[in-house]
């Protein structure tokens, strides 16, 4: 993998449920708008790939990662928490610690409440964990500020400007899907990300 591509990739480790979709989609938009490339386990549809291998490859190929632990809660059916997000965060921290060429990785960790994570992953104590309060707008601003700080890039718009463009994109998206004869839910991750990138080419600040 080219160094340049690694520097551009942002791995997103978030829940994929419908309730979380507004935040996930806003984060994907913010990453694109800031000029980075969102990566997510959903972009790979090859069933022959072992899921964990796919995820470790995405982690290793992304300098930046967003991990959202806010949905770590007991499942009503099993009374057990879904632990995929913390597991993938652990893999990423391991990659940063043990891979000599990945020490420059930067992680943005979200949880629903401040210090809540200390009750289920106390080893993360000392990490700077952020909250989005289930607000897409807050998530966009947090992602934007983190990318701006960690990449050192000065050409990234402010959070409110990015969110304003996101709202305009959301307004156009149903019509774009109608033109494609698709339901909104039929858009695969790569299709969604490509649509954002193409839309931003005509609506972005640049």
């Amino acid at each position: 993998m080219l160094r340049e591509e690694y520097d551009q990739n942002v791995f997103i480790n978030c829940p994929f449920d419908a309730e979380y979709a507004p935040i996930f989609e806003a984060i994907v938009f913010a990453v694109n708008d800031a000029g980075f490339r969102p990566k997510c386990a959903r972009e790979r549809l090859d069933s022959s790939e072992v899921r964990l291998h796919k995820i470790t490859e995405l982690i290793s190929s992304s300098r930046y990662s967003i991990h959202d632990l806010s949905r770590t809660a007991l499942d009503e059916a099993n009374a057990l928490p879904r632990f995929n997000m913390p597991l993938e965060l652990g893999l990423d921290l391991g990659c940063k610690s043990f891979h000599p060429e990945r020490r420059d990785k930067s992680l943005l960790i979200f949880d629903s409440e401040q210090y809540r994570f200390q009750k289920f992953v106390s080893d993360l104590g000392g990490q700077d964990i952020h909250q989005h309060g289930n607000s897409a707008k807050t998530a966009v601003t947090r992602v934007r500020n983190w990318l701006r700080t960690e990449s050192g890039m000065s050409g990234i718009s402010g959070g409110p400007a990015i969110f304003s463009r996101y709202e305009a994109f959301r307004a156009d998206l149903p019509q774009i899907c109608a033109e494609l004869k698709l339901d909104l839910g039929d858009l695969a991750f790569a299709d969604f990300s490509y649509t954002i990138a193409r839309w931003l080419q005509t609506h972005g600040p640049r």
Partner: protein, 63 residues
């Protein structure tokens, strides 16, 4: 001029702002990142030209 001790790390740059080489290495930050829109490297399930045309039609309807 002071001679360097045998195990003293070399410095980058000059004067007070010089950095020790053995400090955490920062990778270079490519200046082009964060300034242009990047497209997914993975294949889309829909022909990209179809998406381009759909977006163009929606934009033209708004004008």
């Amino acid at each position: 001029m002071r001679l360097m001790a045998k195990n003293e790390p070399a410095r980058h740059g000059h004067g007070v702002g010089g950095r020790f080489l053995d400090q955490k290495q920062e990778s270079p930050r490519p200046k082009e990142i964060g300034r242009k829109i990047l497209f997914p490297t993975e294949a889309t399930t829909i022909d990209r030209k179809k998406i381009d045309r759909a977006i163009a039609r929606v934009i033209s309807k708004k004008k």
